[in-house]
């Protein structure tokens, strides 16, 4: 990867050793206060997660009574079992996986091709092409014309409405373009002398040398598509096509039959109360894949943001 500066570059004050009075009482107090502040802040930021976990393992009765804070009350796995047995949930979960994979593949192909072309500085139409790409960053058609277009193309209630329209993210494209631009031209020239055409250079020289940036882009796109719900909300009407985020949204909004099913299944008289723990479980199950890739993704995301600014 080009850089991970925000994460790993050393602090200038630390790296230079003896700078700064660091054994004075005032400084020690400051350090403790500062660290304490950061710990408290982190715990506060983690609180919503802890709450979700606690609620997901708590009995509906305890939730209804408002006794669940940060620790499960009346520990039970029933809510998990209930949701795990829900056919629609798994169908929607599978849809999310399919949508994410297909959308990421489409997006990667289009973005990589365009970024490679835009990175060839000698192209006479380069300025024009960059222009039409960048302009879409500042001005977009808006909700209604997009909706009208997708409907007119007959993409409503198909997977294509979800996986196609998001295919080129200008930010990702520019990151990739600047990565390609920083590859040594000599390689390309040597390949040309050896008889490779532009497409051969792309597939045999540029792509193998760009695995880091390709991995970053795949992660960027796939997390984005995994988390998306609004395209599905707009363009899909049939529940068996929904991604899990939309399932979740409907559970949260109380508009889903699942929540009331849950109430019935747990023998509760109030549909809204059981829904609370179903909501928590649905959120956790949607979150888990993100949490699993997060440790690996994180540094790529950071370096992705930095790629433009600290390169070279």
């Amino acid at each position: 990867m080009v850089t991970q500066s925000a994460m790993t570059t050393t602090n200038p004050r630390r790296s230079s050793g003896s700078i700064g009075p660091r054994d004075t009482t005032g400084y020690r107090i400051f350090t403790w206060a500062n660290n304490g502040f950061l710990v408290v802040l982190s715990l506060a930021m983690l609180f919503p997660f802890a709450m979700l976990v606690a609620q997901s393992f708590s009995s509906p009765a305890a939730l209804k009574a408002g006794r669940v804070g940060i620790w499960p009350v009346g520990f039970t796995l029933d809510t998990y079992k209930f949701l795990m047995q829900n056919q629609m949930f798994w169908l929607n979960y599978r849809n999310t996986v399919v949508y994410t994979v297909v959308a990421t593949v489409i997006a990667m192909v289009l973005t990589t091709l365009m970024a490679y072309v835009l990175a060839r500085r000698h192209l006479r139409a380069r300025g024009f092409l960059v222009g039409i790409v960048v302009f879409t960053m500042f001005f977009n058609g808006g909700l209604i014309p997009n909706y009208v277009l997708i409907s007119a193309l007959g993409m409503k209630n198909t997977i294509w409405a979800i996986v196609v329209p998001g295919a080129i993210s200008v930010f990702n494209l520019l990151v990739m373009k600047s990565f390609f631009e920083n590859q040594p031209l000599e390689l390309e020239e040597a390949a040309q002398i050896d008889g490779l055409g532009w497409f051969g250079i792309f597939t045999r020289i540029v792509l193998p040398l760009s695995q880091a940036v390709l991995a970053t882009m795949i992660l960027f796109y796939s997390v984005g598509f995994w988390n998306d719900w609004f395209a599905a909300f707009l363009y899909l009407d049939r529940q068996e096509l929904f991604p899990v985020t939309l399932f979740l949204r409907n559970v949260i909004a109380g508009a889903s039959s699942t929540a009331s099913e849950g109430a019935a299944a747990a023998g509760m008289n109030s549909a809204t109360q059981i829904a609370e723990s179903v909501k928590a479980v649905a959120m956790i199950l949607t979150l888990i894949p993100i949490l699993c890739v997060y440790p690996f993704v994180q540094r790529y995301f950071v370096s992705g943001v930095m790629l433009g600014s600290v390169k070279g």
Binding site: L41, L113, F230, L248, I290
Partner: protein, 350 residues
Amino acid sequence: MSSAVTGVPAEIGAEAQAAEILEEARARPRARGWWPPGGSRRDRGRPRAPKTPWRVELRRNWVLYAMAVVPVVFLLIFRYLPMIGNVIAFRRFRPGGSIFGEYWVGTYYIEMFLNDPQFWRVFANTAILGGLTLLICFPLPILLALALNEVRARVFKRTIQSISYLPHFLSIVIVAGMVMQLLAIRGPINQWIESIGGSAIPFLDRAEWFRTIYVTSEVWQTIGWGTILYLAALTTVDASLYEAARIDGANRLRQTWHITLPGIRPTMVTLLILNIGTFLNVGFEKVFLLYNPLTYSTADIISTYLFRVGLVSNNFSYAAAIGLFQALIGLAMVLTANLVSRRLVGASLW
């Protein structure tokens, strides 16, 4: 808004633009300077040739142009066609008919929203919500970055960073769900209020609470992620300046004030200008997920209003007129921000 419509990851906004701008700012002095000999890495390579005729250019590079065909067609259909589709703001539109409408009606729909008190209410809500977000969410990452910068223990620092970036990766549906669970009538916040003797508040049904809830959750989502560019800028501050300041007797506070803050000033100014340029783009999705008719008086913003007008009431042309108006304001503000940035920091996007 755009991310909502197109499914593009939502984080592409300010970071992308800031990264580009900062890159320009850094690259410029080198590109123009006398070092390195033979020009910087950026202009190395083929010397700028005299313009080749198009015929020759196409023959030589047709493979490259062919590679660009599919992405360009994609952009034309899914980005530019909807832009043109905005003409329905000036035309009668029939669902199921032509996507460009049936016949011209002039400025009928424009006048309609200009005379719509509801529109001006949501416009004011958007400005207030965007303004509050800017006011509160802009400075906090700077403070957090400064605090993190003082941490010596590496593992500790990285842990805090990991935790604070995490909310950025969550789906907005999960964020909204968490907010709802936290603020539920039996949720942790209300439990706490009751334990200190208050009575539970149905926060999400109270219009006067909406802005607080929105901005607080926005802080939660963005404070960590926002530190990235500042932390990077902090590493570029010249360490010898601190040494000099210490010899001159400056304590840590004064070092921060006189060295650290000026050191990250270009980053701060650039991000501030960009954020001002985009402050009307209040996140549609979170408002949409968190609001309800009881909170419309403070929560309803331009984009949620046009969603209801267009896709719930099926008044496509009217909604398109509002959307076009918002997009044009957004474009004008970004262009202005860019101009200001160029004057002030000497860097701009193009």
